[in-house]
């Protein structure tokens, strides 16, 4: 006897398959216009990054600026395009745990082996 027959014999009525509603969306996602605007911002930030690369400035300042700008891009993509700003916190905590863990342990590891960080 197959399992499906067994199930039928038990007389369990089949529930019609419904797509699982993703209740993870607490708020509505933004629309195309907003996405496009963020795209423009991302493009501008990239242009600034490349621009300051060619500027002659103190190394420390350059590094700080570049890291700051890439963090900004990172956050824009993650928060809007990946909807972490709008979705359930559980998703973001899973991801951010990975991000922070990676940054933390490799900073410690690199400083222990004496690696140059930047």
């Amino acid at each position: 006897m197959t399992l499906s027959e067994l199930r039928k014999k038990r007389g369990a009525p089949e529930r019609p398959a419904e797509p699982a509603a993703d209740t993870g969306h607490r708020e509505k996602h933004p629309g195309p216009l907003e996405y496009a605007q963020i795209g423009v911002v991302l493009a501008i930030v990239t242009a600034i990054e490349v621009g300051i690369y060619y500027l002659d400035m103190a190394h420390g300042l350059l590094v700080a600026l570049l890291i700051g700008l890439s963090l900004l891009k990172f956050s824009l993509v993650v928060l809007w395009f990946m909807h972490l700003k709008f979705d359930n916190r559980v998703y973001s905590s899973m991801f951010l745990f990975g991000v922070f863990l990676a940054v933390l342990i490799f900073l410690v590891a690199l400083s222990t082996v004496g690696g140059k960080l930047v």
Binding site: R15, G24, V50, F81, L101, F106
Partner: protein, 208 residues
């Protein structure tokens, strides 16, 4: 595309979160450690190569070596990948509104931009290789090729996923109610893009 089986019996989960989306986020969290390890290895060995070629201009043993990195070229590449994220999210917005045609256009655009990025990388690798850089040439070659190579592999897999989605949508298997499939592919795609944002800054722009 994501291999998932909806749970048995439960149509609503205890947290109210979708199983597959949760899985994807966990996977991305785990990927952070993957790329973190690769980037850490690159940073550890940066500027420790015992011989040329070098990423940026440098005097070594009294000889001036020109750097390999071509920042304008890579900036364009980074820009291409960044824009592919925009088109990806537009594809999602389209299907969430039930606009299949528009979604297909954006998916195709995204896949093309991704392919363009990978082609750019292939070109870059070829140029570098002609200049004498290989996995075994020095620490820079080792860490650079492995880090960017794994990233490129991720982009390639992403393109395959996008094309699979596209094929499925032409079969009529991606409807408005299936927008989660596009969302999941999108999450993966954006993640790969975000990794490149980090690599672009840490590897290319910041030079010791």
């Amino acid at each position: 595309m994501e291999h998932a089986a909806a749970g048995s019996g439960h149509l609503e989960t205890s947290t109210g979160l979708d199983n597959r989306k949760l899985l994807m986020w966990l996977f991305l969290g785990s990927e952070c450690l993957f790329f973190g390890s690769l980037i850490a290895a690159y940073l550890l060995y940066r500027d420790r190569s015992l011989g040329p070629p070098f990423p940026s201009d440098r005097v070594f043993n009294g000889v001036h070596y020109e750097g390999l990195f071509d920042i304008p070229f890579t900036s364009v590449s980074a820009f291409v990948l960044l824009m592919s994220s925009v088109t990806m999210v537009l594809a999602l917005a389209a299907i969430q509104r039930g606009n299949r045609r528009s979604m297909q256009v954006w998916l195709l655009t995204t896949a093309l931009l991704g392919t363009l990025f990978v082609s750019g990388q292939a070109y870059e690798f070829t140029v570098f290789h002609r200049e004498g850089l290989s996995l075994g040439s020095n620490l820079f070659g080792t860490t650079f090729f492995v880090l960017t190579g794994f990233h490129g592999a991720h982009v390639t897999i992403g393109v395959l996923i996008l094309l699979s989605l596209l094929a499925m949508s032409f079969q009529g298997r991606i409807q408005q109610k299936d927008s989660l499939n596009v969302e999941l592919a999108g999450l993966y795609w954006h993640f790969v893009d975000v990794v490149w944002i980090v690599i672009f800054t840490l590897v290319y722009l910041i030079q010791p």
